[in-house]
């Protein structure tokens, strides 16, 4: 299952998508097929708001693909191909990778080095605690939470007992005490947008969306962006 890695990106005025190349990475941007290209750039794709609370007006995104080839001093090189989206309104770049190696962080580093004019990609994604809970809460309204793991103030990473507020285990962590207060380490939600239900897993800046329908993915991205943009 491909993994979507999220990072913050700041797109400065004057940035234009173009073919970029470095020792390890080759990047190409897609163009929308229709003749009615966006005024600013022929590479910008219009985003159709799918989520009710989506706050952006006239949102656009840039889509592209990368070909990564590692150049290790010893051993054979490995290749990895994938896609990414740059969404300037929410300031996010979402990288879709498959396979464990190289790690998404390595690819993000390479991306950052390769596209270095007027585009700054942060190496790590550190969201606000309340915003992560906002994301979960929004997903819960359009789906069902399967599992949540949090870091409580004492003890190890703990799974939250979601079964019901009446049944409270003596050593368990309840949802009430965790919301907004404890860092979320992992969450699994089941959504059903238009088509068949699919699961979404979230964990430290990574989403695994179990669906091949691009609209399902876009829907989840929009919920994510809406939550992260709230202050």
């Amino acid at each position: 299952m491909p993994v979507e890695s999220v990072r913050n990106v700041s797109v400065e005025d004057g940035w234009e998508p173009s073919v970029e190349q470095s020792e390890t990475l080759e990047i190409t941007f897609y163009s929308p097929e229709s003749d009615s290209a966006m005024a600013e750039s022929s590479h910008a794709f219009a985003i159709t708001p799918l989520y009710d609370d989506y706050p952006f007006s006239d949102p656009i995104k840039y889509k592209g693909e990368y070909h990564y080839k590692s150049q290790p001093t010893f051993g054979s090189s490995s290749t990895n191909n994938g896609q990414f989206e740059i969404r300037p309104q929410s300031g996010l770049i979402i990288l879709e990778t498959s396979g464990d190696r190289p790690t998404p962080s390595k690819i993000i580093s390479a991306l950052s080095e390769t596209i270095n004019q007027n585009l700054k990609i942060e190496r790590e994604f550190v969201p606000g605690r309340e915003q992560t809970w906002e994301f979960l809460s929004r997903m819960e309204k359009v789906g069902q939470i399967g599992e949540i793991e949090v870091i409580p103030p004492f003890g190890g990473v703990t799974k939250i007992d979601l079964r019901g507020s009446e049944v409270r285990q003596s050593s368990g962590v309840t949802l009430d005490e965790a919301i907004g207060n404890y860092p979320i380490e992992y969450a699994k939600v089941q959504l059903a947008y238009e088509s068949d239900p699919f699961t979404v897993e979230y964990s430290s800046g990574q989403l695994v969306i179990e669906s091949s329908d691009p609209e399902d993915k876009e829907y989840v991205y929009q919920i994510f962006e809406t939550s992260m943009t709230e202050s």
Partner: protein, 195 residues
């Protein structure tokens, strides 16, 4: 006997003294100088030699004075706890170290600021082959360029997860992840040894 809000928490000087004592008594310096001082005092009694008594007093009181001067001011306390399951991690934690499992480790960092402090900026400073990132921003705080900061003190006591990763291969020495006070000359507040 547990009293919520014991009397010493109400005044800043007593809170600082409490923090100083907690931190000092945790050090190796304290743990070695006290027995040495006791030994010298006993010797001075046995041998009827005042010199030893003087040395005993110096060995007992000079180290805390040095510690107080070196690590002042005592307005903040940081602790870290291992979150990785497994005996090897528990044993390593007792030695003040964290063990990387498949190049990664997760710890919980707890921060206790004195309520009189008006904002903070914590710099997370890992040694070169490592990266250390908070799992998220505690409420009211912002993380940017390796610094976790809060402009006002709405939330003086908080915690966050810290993900430690091996970015470059660790060579001979054992690297550390340090947390420094960016508002106070990068004063070292916490140091986590990484194996």
């Amino acid at each position: 006997m547990y009293t919520p809000n014991p009397i010493w928490t109400r005044y800043r000087p007593t809170r600082w003294i409490h923090r100083f004592l907690t931190q000092y008594t945790d050090t190796l310096l304290f743990k070695t100088t006290v027995p040495v001082s006791s030994g010298l005092a006993i010797l001075s009694n046995l041998l009827d030699e005042n010199m030893f008594l003087l040395l005993a007093i110096l060995t007992l009181f000079l180290p805390p004075l040095y510690f107080a001067w070196r690590y002042r001011p005592f307005y903040v306390s940081l602790e870290w706890e291992n979150l990785n399951p497994g005996d090897i991690h528990i044993r390593a934690e007792q030695r003040g170290r964290v063990v990387l499992d498949d190049g990664q480790a997760l710890v919980r960092v707890k921060v206790f600021f004195d309520e009189s402090v008006s904002g903070y900026a914590l710099k997370i400073d890992p040694d070169k082959p490592l990266s250390a990132t908070p799992t998220d921003e505690p409420p009211n705080a912002e993380y940017k360029d390796g610094i976790l900061e809060q402009k006002d003190m709405e939330n003086p006591q908080f915690y966050f997860g810290l993900r430690i990763r091996e970015v470059d291969p660790i060579k001979l020495y054992e690297p550390e992840v340090r947390i420094r006070d960016a508002n106070n000359n990068d004063k070292l507040l916490l140091s986590i040894g990484v194996t």
